[in-house]
């Protein structure tokens, strides 16, 4: 089953690469005109196109890129000749670090809040947590970020921007990346918390929960031991979805905190029509999405005895 899913995933990546390539082809202008700007004369543009290999037909460029990518060579950035793998690897590390950091904050918080809200549903706690979480996702991300900067950075608690370089220590990274991670936490917590709460409440009407109550179990035990394990599949899925978001959808936070992640790279490369980089980053994003979904499915399967232990 996992093998089929992997095969499907690879198929998806292929579609994604075609879609992205097609879309970048449709963009007005190309790398040569972008690089030369208005100093472009037909002559220099032609020379640059030739040098960059932009004169080949689209299909051929795609084919060249595909064969290269399949053999593990993503090529060099057309704009500054740096190997794409080198260009991306540091930023991928940063992106993953931030995503995991935010997830490390958000997942426990949202699980705990979700469980408590389900346990004390329709109480003041439930409503406040719910309204709070909703408000947090109701504000645009950059707005949340600016507010956090106003409160936590201008007071000198945390830096307002992330200056990390290869020599930054882990502890410093944690400290410096706190505000972006917190922003993202606020953004994703609501979704996960609400899903946890809903999944648990959804199960609270099941006969086996009634059974547990009739066995005299405490409410906390019922939620944790009887409801939660059965609610894991949707919770895992929503966590996977949000992790995918944390990896792929954080351009805005990257911009505000000057965080050197993949999102900014992707947006830059789109603007510059640096198609090789766009493709590579898009594939990384898509692969992260596919892999997380696959992981979620596998975890859902593992945590579901009905699927794990066949008759």
């Amino acid at each position: 089953m996992i093998l089929t899913r992997i095969a499907i995933g690879i198929g998806l990546l292929f579609i994604v690469s075609v879609v992205i390539f097609g879309a970048t082809e449709l963009l007005p202008g190309d790398l040569a005109t972008q690089l030369l700007g208005q100093s472009a004369t037909p002559e220099t543009v032609a020379a640059l196109r030739e040098q960059l290999g932009l004169n080949d037909p689209a299909a051929m460029r795609y084919w060249n890129w595909l064969t290269g990518a399949l053999s593990g060579d993503f090529g060099v950035s057309l704009a500054n000749n740096r190997p794409i793998s080198e260009l991306i690897s540091a930023r991928l590390g940063n992106t993953l670090f931030l995503a995991l950091y935010a997830a490390a904050l958000a997942v426990p918080i949202s699980l705990i809040l979700g469980v408590l809200a389900a346990l004390w549903r329709n109480t003041v706690f439930d409503r406040v947590a719910n309204a709070g979480a909703l408000s947090a996702i109701s504000f645009p991300e950059f707005f949340v970020a600016y507010i956090l900067i106003l409160w936590l950075a201008q007071t000198g608690l945390f830096p307002s921007m992330v200056r990390i370089n290869p020599t930054t220590t882990f502890v410093d990274r944690i400290y410096m990346s706190f505000l972006p991670a917190l922003t993202l936490t606020l953004v994703v917590t609501a979704h996960m918390m609400r899903m946890t709460r809903a999944a648990i409440i959804n199960l609270m009407a099941s006969p086996y929960i009634e059974m547990a109550r009739l066995k005299g179990m405490s409410p906390l035990r019922i939620v944790l031991r009887h409801a939660l394990p059965n609610a894991l599949a949707p919770i895992i899925n929503v966590i996977a979805l949000n992790l995918a978001y944390l990896i792929t959808g954080v351009v805005v936070v990257e911009v505000v905190f000057v965080y050197p992640g993949l999102g900014q790279l992707m947006v830059d490369s789109v603007s510059n029509r640096d198609i090789a980089v766009v493709q590579a980053v898009a594939l990384i994003f898509a692969a992260a999405y596919v892999a997380l979904n696959l992981l979620a499915d596998v975890l859902s399967t593992i945590t579901n005895p009905r699927l794990m232990h066949r008759r």
């Binding site: 992205i20 504000f139 645009p140 991300e141 950059f142 900067i149 106003l150 898009a282 999405y289």
Partner: protein
């Protein structure tokens, strides 16, 4: 700080009015409307009140707004005064009027976008669930592929290609959102397709369109409506994120996302100007979700 006091006070008043209206509804209404009112938690009443106010503002915009949407009526960043209750914006337009027009534009565009996304996404999703086989496979894989591309970046790409007219904006965000709706609609429909009444209709020899329209869609409405509420809010946020990246609703059309964006640097100095449009977005989001929660609760309650 007094600004926050005002906000808290305003919310309290809204809650109080909502509670009052609910009480009135409970005593005056009859029949199922009354049951509805009886059933309604305070949060939902609050949500409905807020939505009604927004709808009213959006419809009655020209009457309510003291100044035209785009007219420069003062100097830059005037303070709050009797003439300009919320001051003026960075080029001297009346902030209150802009906010009121923003309600119409933002809500209207978000509504159109979400509606389009829902029509396309749910019809395709239900169709895929109903038909199964290769139709389902192809559609689902394609949607999966689109979903694997980050929404914001994909919208950005498409908007760059197609330009940022309001039509393009609606179409692009709708098509990106439709993938999410498709997924949900398909999942919901898969639960409905196995129901006996759908089988009965199939046995009767009904065509797909009838099955989608009459048998499946009405029964998939509850989760779809709930999702509609959430998506509606996400569309706001998507538009404001796009504004952040320089694509979005075109000025001088007032839209809350762009208004937050335009004044964002002021947050750095703790200025409240950008808070107003952001607060408008947030209030509506919370209100819509309160109602959605209530509807979901009712839907699940009635299933028992």
């Amino acid at each position: 700080m007094s600004f926050f006091l005002w906000v808290v006070l305003g919310l309290a008043v809204l809650f109080a009015v909502a509670a009052g209206l609910r009480a009135v509804a409970r005593t005056t209404l009859t029949g199922s409307a009354r049951t509805l009112a009886n059933d309604m938690p305070l949060t939902a009443a609050f949500g409905i009140l807020v939505i009604l106010i927004y709808a009213f503002v959006a419809i009655a915009t020209p009457v309510l707004a003291p100044f035209p949407e785009r007219e420069i009526v003062g100097t830059q960043f005037e303070a709050w005064s009797a003439e300009h209750p919320l001051g003026t914006d960075r080029i001297g337009r009346d902030m209150l009027s802009r906010l009121i027009y923003g309600a119409r534009n933002t809500v209207g565009i978000a509504f159109a976008t979400t509606a389009l996304a829902f029509i396309v996404g749910s019809v395709l999703g239900i169709w895929a669930a109903l038909t199964g086989g290769w139709v389902d496979q192809i559609l689902s894989r394609f949607v999966d592929a689109l979903m694997a591309i980050p929404a914001l970046i994909f919208s950005l790409l498409l908007l760059t290609i197609f330009g940022t007219s309001i039509t393009a904006l609606i179409l692009v965000i709708a098509s990106v959102d439709a993938t999410r709706v498709y997924r949900l609609a398909r999942a919901v429909a898969q639960g409905i397709v196995v129901m006996d009444y759908v089988e009965a209709a199939q046995l009767r020899g009904e065509r797909s369109w009838y099955l989608i329209r009459r048998e499946i869609l009405p029964n998939a409405m509850a989760p779809l409506v709930a999702e509609f509420g959430l998506r509606f809010c996400f569309v706001f946020l998507a538009i404001s994120s796009l504004s952040f990246l320089g694509l979005g609703i075109k000025p001088p059309t007032a839209d809350w996302g762009s208004m937050v964006r335009d004044n964002a640097t002021l947050i750095t100095f703790g200025d409240v100007t950008p808070l107003l449009p952001a607060g408008c977005i947030a209030l509506l989001t919370v209100a819509v979700n309160f109602v959605v929660d209530w509807q979901l609760y009712r839907a699940s309650g009635l299933k028992e």
